[in-house]
Symmetry: C2
Subunit: 424 residues, 2 copies
């Protein structure tokens, strides 16, 4: 259990509307938990090790609520298509390669290195349907020191021959073996149940997954209401469900006792939103992906107003960047276009709100995570924004906004702490 | 006059639909002009100096058709507002500082360094209304080795007291002095007439600017139809004009004998578009800015279909990044949202088209610029995309798309040539 003090220009969210900044402040970690932020270092902490990052920005580690590790290799490639074509042309053919462990080893090394060097400290990650390659990914994630939920993907229907499990039975059995192997193996890496999406999972499989979810008390991640064609398809596959979300809910894989994060929610109906709120389902808002795949823009303002649990996802490789800095500015930008082009009553998301979503908002999926309030798990990232020279005086909060818009995470990261451990 | 050969993986546009790529090819510069691209180096060029960039990407220098040098210092700052508020809160107060030459010296050093180190080789740049500071900017731009049009801004009405010229007469006189001083002073830096936009220029000033335009045969840059409130304001200021563009045209400052580039064109009416086409007015498409200021999305597909002259602009600091790589991916992304949210008949802009806009499309404003076809002025940028590791084989065009989406211009630039001179 580590204890130390960080000194620097500290920024963190208390709530979506309250972004606190302290110039030349002290952030205290005791036994891996945050003891709070102080303008002057209290006497009782004077003997702790001090990391002096004076003049640098110190922020909570950011949370990526939705990303696909095997897709990292084709991020930014062949982007001129929509979801279903994109899945068939890009995603499925690349994911099929992960039956080859050598390829998985190579690809997941690149992914985990990149994630380690980003501003992300915690992530919910899709692997592929391959049990062995998923273990490889989990081994690599554990080595980064980051905290992650990693999911072996389930898909037993409507999938290409080389990327489809033979039966619901085989899918569930393989999944159980993978859970048994991984559930107590790591300190920072955990299995998460990952039915790809309703179209690729038979009813029989979903029932078996619920049984596993209950037996091992696992969280759940999947996709929801990303694209209109996809929603129509789901309504044909599940004629008795009131919504796409209700289809998950009919198998009890939609929040409540099964902690659940759903990516996208671009076109969630009122009843679906109501159900998410009731069941405490997290929304992983993925603005880059929703733009790249011509899906649309999710109504984040309305989710915030309704008090839904919302965080951000890079959704690599629908999204082309692993950067949560980019996801923050994308969230603001896309909300402005939603306001301008879709609904003039939906006030754009502010910078403060978007920063909150990437930190404390998504952090809640992991517990008390994503802020520097007392009692929070200690995840922090130190950014050297002097790589962005400027002629005028800037406040700490101005420097934060600028560092995020200008993606100073690419080259500005100086240090990173996760659960009180220094990983960079 | 320099002559040499570049070897590497070469990418360039012939037309918007034809992006040529040559692996391990040769691009020949003779007397500062491109002689074309070859799979094998022709015998006659064997004695020229060879720069070996094997394994790296070689692209034409990119063209920034619209940016504001004094606004570079607040890019990515205080982004939570719209055009008119943003002008008053951010742009005007920062620009007023450029009456101080020390400040201008400092700020323009940072701007010109950044532009030099980007993938941009040519730019149309707004300065401020200050004659001396504009000279400072031109001196600095000349030192970069890039080619630029730089404009002292004109504004004699509807502007804050500390950023408004006293009269049309004084504005025109100061402008003439600046033109006389700069028109033959530099090798690569030229004055461009820069009425800020209709709201800030009196009729009297516009008439005087036309006289200067004719006397010195200057090109013109300004803003057009960016925001609905702005358009309404112009229609009130110019009740006799059929459109915002027609207001410029009524002073003969809208193409024809006055080569003109207009930034934005988000809400250009049919008649305005017709006039742009007729007069050969260039559109500087600025997707990041139009998003950040909640302006909307310009209908680029329709401009391409109608055969308008179009290029891209970073529009710093409405746009937060000076990167044309970012402007290319933004162009594709925003066109997808336009297609999804505004007009389902407007097919998204392809990567090939967006790359064309950033190179050959905008290059036409500078002459035969922005391609590696025979006779083109020799501007080239070398990108080391090995900073982006990948587990699979990639074609040259896939690597180009990926390098652009992932902003490999930030740290991947290995060399840069402008008019045959090596500037990096």
């Amino acid at each position: 259990m580590s204890s130390f003090v960080l000194k620097g220009d500290i920024c963190y969210s208390i709530s979506k509307d309250t972004l606190k900044t302290i110039k030349n402040g002290y952030c205290v970690c005791e036994n891996s938990l945050c003891q709070g932020v102080f303008e002057k270092l209290p006497e009782i902490y004077k003997n702790l090790q001090l990391y002096d990052y004076e003049g640098k920005l110190i922020i909570p580690g950011l949370i990526d609520l939705h990303t696909h590790a095997p897709q990292f290799s084709f991020r930014g490639l062949n982007m001129d298509c929509e979801l279903i074509d994109w899945l068939n042309n890009n995603a499925f053919s690349e994911e099929a390669k992960f039956s080859n462990l050598d390829y998985a080893e190579k690809a997941y090394s690149i992914f985990s290195d990149a994630l380690k060097n980003s501003a992300t400290t915690r992530a919910c990650i899709f692997a592929t349907l391959h049990k062995e390659a998923t273990k490889t990914l989990m081994d690599k994630m554990e080595k980064t020191g980051l905290v992650s939920f990693v999911g072996k993907v389930n898909m037993d229907r409507n999938s290409p021959g080389n990327l489809c499990e033979e039966s619901a039975d085989i899918s569930a059995k393989t999944t159980q073996e993978w859970i048994e192997n991984s559930i107590n193996k790591y300190k920072n890496t955990y299995p998460i149940l990952t039915p790809r999406f309703i179209p690729s999972c038979s009813d029989e499989l979903m029932k078996k997954l619920k049984a596993l979810q209950q037996k091992y008390n696992l969280p759940v991640q999947s996709h929801l209401s990303e694209n209109k064609d996809e929603i129509k398809w789901v309504s044909e596959l599940c004629p008795d469900s009131k919504s796409y979300g209700d289809a998950y809910n009919s198998f009890s894989l939609f929040g409540k006792d099964a902690k659940t994060v759903m990516a996208h929610c671009v076109y969630s109906s009122d009843s679906e939103v109501e159900l998410m709120k009731e069941n405490g389902v997290f929304v992983a808002h993925c603005p880059a992906s929703n733009t790249n795949l011509s899906s649309g823009i999710a109504p984040v303002r309305s989710y915030l107003d309704k008090g839904l649990k919302v965080g951000l996802g890079s959704d690599v490789a629908g999204g082309h960047s692993l950067s949560l800095f980019r996801a923050i500015s994308d969230t603001v930008q896309m909300s402005k276009l939603y306001y301008r082009l879709v609904d003039a009553s939906a006030k754009p998301v502010t910078f403060s709100e978007a920063f909150y979503l990437a930190s404390k908002g998504g952090g809640e999926f992991f517990g008390e995570v994503g802020s520097f309030e007392k009692g929070y798990e200690f995840d922090a990232v130190v950014i050297d924004d002097s790589i962005l020279p400027h002629p005028q005086e800037l406040t700490v909060s101005e420097r934060l906004e600028r560092a995020i818009y200008l993606n100073a995470d690419f080259s500005g990261i100086k240090a990173k702490f996760v659960r009180g451990n220094k990983v960079i």
